[in-house]
């Protein structure tokens, strides 16, 4: 800057405000620069200027202002006048636009209060109120009640199996009984395995399946009857040497059962899952009639024989019963009960 001002300071006044002849040569160099053909660009700029102006007026964005000669701005009311009463006056539209954020804010608060806050306050168990929780507890109680009933039924079945009766039998008497039947193993073990097998069915791994199996086991199913019949009619084919053989045989029996296919499949599968007869135990199950497997069944069978006037047969069975259950069957008087 210093170099600019010192040497030429005196001659600055010689340069006029406007370009004079002393600058004409340089100025002409610039002025002679050719202008390109800019008609398209001119049209583009002018069209943009016009469209921007019109869209600006259409929107009534509040920026259309009329400037007074003194430079101050006054509100341009042209947009109002041109539209008369068909549109909201500019100032009113402007005011209305200010109202909108308030409306949206109020709506947002309501939504937050009604929807979001309860969701946030909802407890981890998924219930926002005690009432809802109680309602759900009722249904849970119903479910647990059903489960309890199923459990009770299972217990009843266990007691029906009279496993306790067999457990209390002397080993010698059972073995004697089994020997009389030609069995290679003790009847007690066989009966216990049968009971455990039934228990496996009743104690299914899943609660729903347990309930289903329990319901099926409450009443003798056609499967059971058919299985029993098969066991009695085909004794040789039912000799088990291993648990796998037993499982296969049971599957075979079930496969032969044409009726109640679905239920057969269910029970046979569950029996196959947990075989209770240990490997190496040879059971000749066919030599032991089903009714002799439990004390209760044996008693009922004897009573049925008496009722059906098969007294000789009933007498033999009673003797056998007393032989194997001397204590338990001592008070059993089938002939007296029937008569």
């Amino acid at each position: 800057m210093t170099t600019e001002n010192t040497p030429a300071q005196s001659s600055n006044s010689n340069l006029p405000d406007d370009i004079d002849a002393s600058e004409a040569d340089i100025a002409s160099l610039f002025a002679n620069q050719p202008l390109p053909q800019m008609k398209e660009l001119d049209d583009l700029v002018l069209a943009r200027a016009s469209s921007a102006q019109h869209s600006f007026q259409e929107k009534g964005s509040g920026k259309a202002q009329k400037r007074a000669p003194d430079g101050s701005t006054v509100q341009n009311d042209n947009t109002v006048d041109s539209r008369q009463s068909k549109v909201v006056p500019f100032r009113q539209r402007d005011s209305f636009r200010h109202v909108f954020p308030g409306i949206f804010a109020a709506a947002a608060v309501v939504v937050l209060a009604v929807v979001v806050v309860p969701l946030i306050q909802q407890s981890p168990d998924g219930f926002s109120t005690d009432k809802e929780r109680d309602g759900h507890s009722l249904s849970s109680d119903a479910v647990s009640s059903t489960a309890d009933k199923a459990s009770d039924v299972t217990s009843d079945l266990d007691s029906d199996a009279d496993s306790a009766d067999f457990a209390e039998l002397p080993e010698s008497s059972i073995r004697g009984f089994s020997q009389s039947l030609g069995a290679d193993v003790s009847v007690k073990e066989a009966v216990e395995s049968k009971i455990q097998t039934d228990s496996v069915v009743l104690e299914g791994t899943q609660e729903t399946r347990q309930n289903k199996a329990t319901t099926q086991s409450l009443a003798p199913t056609p499967l059971e009857a058919e299985s029993t019949a098969l066991m009695e009619s085909q004794p040789e084919s039912l000799e088990f040497s291993t648990s796998q053989d037993q499982t296969d045989a049971a599957t075979d029996i079930n496969a032969k059962s044409s009726s109640s296919a679905a239920r057969t499949t269910t029970i046979s599968t569950e029996r196959s899952i947990k075989p209770t007869v240990e490997t190496g135990i040879n059971i000749t199950a066919s030599t032991t009639p089903v009714f002799r497997q439990t004390l209760t069944m044996w008693k009922e069978a004897i009573l049925e024989m008496v009722t059906n006037d098969k007294r000789d047969e009933a007498k033999r069975e009673l003797e056998l019963l007393l032989e194997h259950y001397p204590q338990e069957a001592k008070s059993f008087k089938p002939f007296a009960e029937v008569d």
């Binding site: 340089i26 660009l41 001119d42 400037r67």
Partner: protein, 201 residues
């Protein structure tokens, strides 16, 4: 400050919705703005881009325009900002590498005050290119003063207003710049003189 400035009044009318007022301003400032950009960048394409961008900014700024200064000062402030942004984007003046191509000039139809033959047009482009090179050698403040003075056609006071300097400072810059330009553009000036004589004949 702007009392009596017809251009400011025209801009106010345009802001009020008078399209014709803008067209008048556009026609008036068209060559000045274009030559300012052309002289600054040395590229016709870049000059056209910056020229268009300047007018777009003028249109967008119509609502906020306040006649605190002359319209010329306002519009060239916008132009200068566009040019600064352009230089910033390319990090160096464009005309160093983008001098006007003579062949391109021949392909396009240019509007000039006179009708030149192809040879004369080529000569004109040649010394115009020399003008860009000469401007390149000037310090930035002197170059700006020269561009505003001769390309944009501003008065000393307008340049001072635009550059926020005193008029004497602007004059001083011009006084230093002119001899340099003349010495560098001797050939171009001679060509121009010859071309002028040819046109006058």
């Amino acid at each position: 400050m702007t009392d009596g400035d017809p251009d400011s009044a025209a801009m106010q009318r345009y802001a009020s919705g008078e399209d014709a007022a803008f067209e008048g301003l556009y026609r008036k400032y068209q060559p000045r703005l274009y030559r300012y950009f052309l002289s600054s960048t040395g590229s016709e394409a870049v000059a056209l881009d910056l020229y268009q961008e300047t007018w777009m900014r003028v249109i967008r700024s119509r609502a906020t325009y306040t006649p605190q200064s002359r319209f010329l000062t306002w519009v060239f402030t916008i132009a200068k900002n566009c040019l600064t942004e352009y230089y910033r984007a390319i990090s160096r003046p464009a005309h160093v590498t983008q001098a006007i191509d003579i062949e391109d000039m021949g392909d396009e139809q240019h509007v000039t005050d006179s009708v030149l033959s192809p040879e004369e047009s080529a000569l004109l482009v040649q010394y115009t290119d020399q003008l860009y090179t000469a401007l390149e050698t000037l310090p930035q403040v002197q170059r700006d003063a020269v561009l505003f003075r001769y390309a944009a056609g501003m008065t000393i006071s307008e340049i001072a207003d635009l550059m926020n300097e005193k008029s004497e400072t602007v004059k001083s810059r011009l006084r230093y710049a002119l001899p340099k330009l003349r010495s560098m553009l001797r050939e171009s000036l001679q060509l121009q003189e010859l071309a002028g004589e040819h046109i006058r004949q």
